[in-house]
Symmetry: C2
C-alpha cells in the first residue's frame, strides 16, 4: 500500500505544503503545514487522535484544538476531506477524487470505493426545491478478510 504513515517530514515537504496553503488562501502556519504534509503522505482514513499521535511521533506536539482547527480549515478550502462512515468519531483523508466508502461491520475497516461518476453530486434525489451538493454513499458489509474467516461468526 503506498502512502503508509510517514516516518519523517522533510523541510521540503512542509515547504510544499506551505505553497499549497497559500494557493488556497490560507496562511502557512506551522501546524497547518505539518498536518497537511502528514496527510499528503499518509493514505487512508484517520481519526483526529491518530493524526495527533502521528504528529507526536514525528516530533510535533500540537494541542487537540489546533488539530481540529487545522482540519476544519483544510476541509473548508478543499485540501482535506471528511470521510463519511456514519456516526462515531470523525475521520479525515487527503483530498483526491470524489469517492465513497465501504465499512466492514466486523472489523471496522474502511476502504475507498471509486465513484462511477467521479464528481459530485453523483446521484440525484427527489427532494423538491432543495439544492443537492453531494451524494455520499456508505457501503456496509463484511470485508474480504472477515468474509473468509467464517460465514457469520463474531
Amino acid at each position: 500500500m503506498e502512502g503508509g504513515r510517514p516516518t519523517r517530514l522533510t523541510p521540503d515537504d512542509t515547504a510544499v505544503a506551505g505553497g499549497r496553503l497559500r494557493n488556497a488562501g490560507l496562511r502557512a502556519t506551522r501546524p497547518r503545514q505539518t498536518v497537511l504534509a502528514l496527510l499528503d503522505g499518509w493514505a487512508g482514513h484517520h481519526a483526529v487522535d491518530d493524526l495527533s499521535a502521528a504528529l507526536v511521533d514525528l516530533g510535533h506536539r500540537f494541542p487537540r484544538q489546533s488539530v481540529y482547527n487545522v482540519l476544519d480549515d483544510l476541509v473548508r478550502v478543499g485540501l482535506a476531506l471528511p470521510a463519511d462512515t456514519g456516526p462515531g468519531r470523525a475521520l479525515y483523508e487527503r483530498a483526491g477524487d470524489w469517492h465513497h466508502h465501504f465499512v466492514c461491520l466486523d472489523c471496522g475497516a474502511v476502504m475507498d470505493v471509486p465513484c462511477a461518476i467521479g464528481d459530485k453530486p453523483c446521484l440525484d434525489a427527489a427532494v423538491p426545491g432543495a439544492e443537492i451538493d453531494e451524494a455520499q454513499v456508505i457501503f456496509r458489509g463484511r470485508c474480504a478478510d472477515c468474509a473468509d474467516r467464517g460465514p457469520a461468526d463474531a
Copy 2:
C-alpha cells in the same frame, strides 16, 4: 405530517408492541414496549435524548442506558433503523421501507429520500471479495426553506 410526537400511549399500543417484540424473538419488557410504541407513532428521526425526553413527557422515565439497550435490540431485530446522517449523535427511526436521507447543511434538517430500488443493497460497489449488505446514501445540500432564504448566506 402524519405521526407527530404521540401525546399518550394507550394500553393497546403497548400490547401491540409487545406482540411484535415476541414475534421478533425478544422479551416483551416494559421499556421495550414503551420505546417501540413511541417510535411507531412518531415519524421522523430522533436522537436518544429526544426519545428520552418524550418518554418522560408520557410519564415513563427510563435511564439513558435502558434507552440505548432497547434501541440496540430493536435495531438488531429490525424493528428500528439507525438513520445515517454522518458524524454526530446517532438518530433512530421506526422501521419501514429502505430509504436514504437528505441533510440540510444550513439548518440541519433531515428528511427521507425514497430509494429507487426500495430494498438493500440498492447499489453495487467494486470491492473484491466483500459481502455488501447495504448501500446507504446521504444527500447533502440546502433544503427548500434555506434555499429560499438566500443564495448562500448563513
